[in-house]
């Protein structure tokens, strides 16, 4: 296995993050802080606690997920799309690297970035709300799995897209709505029964629910199902990446 190649891609991508530190780390952290101010302090002061958790604290896992999902997808899709766009992909295609190593480099870097970002937001939220984490280990498991899964999804989008518009469209039109409707700011138990059932088709529900459980031990669906669904989604993305490289889809003419 050419681990050096994966390492080279990883280092390259991380260096890119370093150059765009404002855009990739500082600005998401800042906008999350704004959510805290608006939802946590302004609106949250009027909402009594949800299932025994203060509203400000209740939204923390959801907010981290919101950022994680959008940032993982955007970073990873941009990471692979850009060399396709500029043409520098030629070098990667001509190198003795396997699909797995290429994905490892790009997805690994995007996931790392998201994990760091998630931890920064978590640290920031301690400044705004009283917070405890019931299961730190499972919290990290959800954080890592989600970052990896959505970085894989981003990677797929970056290969599928043939313009900057397509690159934006999935995060904008699918991921953000699904996240907002996935119980980020509320428990799905507050919804009418019909909507509760519909919501269960939203994969983000399982991520947010499981992640929230690791903080407060309250959840919309059982944590085991959450983990199961996350792993399922991860496998689907892995299978898609494998297929893309097997067929050379959109990478080679």
């Amino acid at each position: 296995m050419n681990l050096r190649a994966a390492g080279a891609i990883y280092t390259f991508e991380m260096a890119r993050t370093g150059r765009t530190i404002w855009q990739s780390i500082v600005s998401p952290a800042l906008s999350t802080s704004l959510y805290f101010v608006v939802f946590g302090a302004a609106i949250g002061s009027r909402i009594t606690e949800i299932e025994g958790v203060a509203y400000g604290a209740f939204i923390v896992p959801g907010l981290i997920m919101l950022t994680l999902l959008t940032q993982s997808t955007m970073n990873a899709s941009f990471g692979i799309y850009f060399p396709r766009f500029t043409g520098t992909i030629y070098e990667i295609l001509s190198a003795p690297v396997s699909a797995f190593e290429i994905a490892l480099g790009y997805v690994g870097a995007a996931a790392t970035k998201s994990i760091v970002l998630g931890l920064i937001i978590l640290a920031t939220s301690f400044l705004f709300v009283p917070l405890q984490i019931a299961h730190p280990f499972w919290m990290l498991v959800f954080l890592v799995l989600t970052s990896v899964t959505f970085s894989l999804l981003g990677f797929i989008i970056g290969i599928w897209a043939d313009g900057f518009e397509k690159l934006q469209i999935i995060p904008l039109l699918i991921i953000t709505p699904l996240t907002f409707l996935g119980g980020t700011f509320y428990s799905i138990n507050v919804l009418p029964p019909v909507w509760q059932t519909i919501t269960l088709f939203n994969p983000v529900v399982y991520l947010v629910s499981g992640f929230r459980w690791s903080f407060f031990e309250i959840s919309d669906v059982s944590p085991a199902i959450s983990i199961g669904m996350t792993l399922l989604f991860l496998s689907l993305c892995l299978a898609a990446v494998w297929w893309i490289f097997k067929t050379g889809y959109k990478l080679k003419n």
């Binding site: 050419n2 050096r4 190649a5 390492g7 080279a8 891609i9 280092t11 390259f12 260096a15 890119r16 150059r19 060399p83 500029t86 043409g87 520098t88 030629y90 070098e91 990667i92 295609l93 001509s94 190198a95 003795p96 690297v97 396997s98 050379g248 080679k252 003419n253």
Partner: protein
């Protein structure tokens, strides 16, 4: 000149073997039509052909950037699809398009290439490559701050960073100034003497004439000729004898019509074209015909056609 590689039995086998290779693009355009070509170990092979002939397509397939529609390629015995790792790790590619990451530094991008090809870090080697290509003082510059010719050299440095056994140069000298072009060819010569096989394309035919051991001509997706350069020059090279006349001629006298003569320079020169490899060149007969016609000359010169003339002749013959 004999090289070490020449003594090894392995050198009898071609380092790249292309057989029956075809490429049809998604648009339906057939860019390559059943190419058969062997590249010999350690040679400099110049692939010549007009715009759109299929040179870049051919290189793209061998290097793994494009998929072949048909046929197969082996690199040092490794099939390029099945055994891509072994095949590709031997190859360095300098693409025709200037594609570089704008924000990276020269040093970072060249180091990246080495890592990508799975080689352990070796700053000394990268320093050597950058110095040879006169890029050392630019090593900390971002690529977007470089000129076109400098970027071209960065692409060469990237290809050399992982010490390839085979180097593809797709128009390496486009946009590079005369001085640096000389340096660049010196680098190529040094590589060749260290045993690296080089395949290059260029539209500057004189460069191919200078550098190549063998020449291949591709036109409309077909290889129309592969020949030892010296042999090619000898075979297809026409020689001309130019006679500077003492008195201007308005027209060629009828008695000279049988000879392959033409008037040039407003009638003050006669040009005799002949085939060097023919049994009888006809020089003697022509000269005696001249003296019977009482045409005297002050001076004479001979010229031999260049590879460029040969190339132009070949390609236009086909179209």
């Amino acid at each position: 000149m004999q090289r070490v590689a020449d003594y090894m039995p392995q050198s009898m086998q071609p380092i790249i073997s292309i057989s029956n290779l075809s490429k049809t693009y998604a648009s339906g355009f057939r860019a390559l039509k059943g190419i058969n070509l062997d590249i010999r170990r350690g040679e400099i092979f110049a692939l010549l052909g007009p715009n759109g002939a299929g040179k870049t397509t051919l290189i793209g397939i061998v290097c793994g950037i494009l998929k072949a529609s048909q046929g197969s390629v082996t690199v040092d015995g490794h099939e390029i699809v099945k055994d891509y790792r072994a095949a590709r790790s031997l190859i360095g590619l300098v693409p025709q398009e200037l594609t570089t990451d704008a924000f990276e530094t020269v040093w970072a991008t060249v180091t990246f290439s080495r890592g990508l090809f799975g080689k352990p870090r070796n700053p000394a080697h990268i320093e050597k490559v950058l110095k040879e290509l006169s890029l050392w003082d630019k090593k900390d510059n971002r690529l977007m701050t470089l000129s076109g010719g400098m970027k071209r050299r960065v692409l060469i440095a990237k290809a050399l960073s992982h010490e390839p056994q085979i180097l593809f140069l797709d128009e390496p000298t486009a946009g590079v100034d005369v001085e640096l072009r000389k340096d660049m060819w010196q680098v190529v010569r040094d590589l060749r003497s260290s045993g690296v096989t080089i395949i290059l394309t260029t539209h500057y035919i004189e460069e191919a004439e200078d550098m190549a051991d063998r020449v291949g001509v591709i036109s409309k997706g077909e290889i129309i000729l592969v020949e030892n350069k010296a042999e090619l020059m000898r075979k297809l090279g026409k020689k001309q004898l130019i006679l500077h006349l003492q008195k201007k001629l308005d027209a060629l006298p009828a008695s000279l019509a049988a000879h392959n003569l033409s008037l040039a320079a407003g009638g003050s020169e006669l040009v005799f074209t002949y085939d060097t490899k023919a049994e009888r060149t006809g020089v003697t007969a022509m000269l005696s015909a001249l003296s019977s016609a009482d045409i005297g000359f002050r001076d004479l010169a001979t010229t031999q056609s260049s590879l460029e003339d040969i190339f132009v002749g070949l390609v236009s013959e086909r179209s």
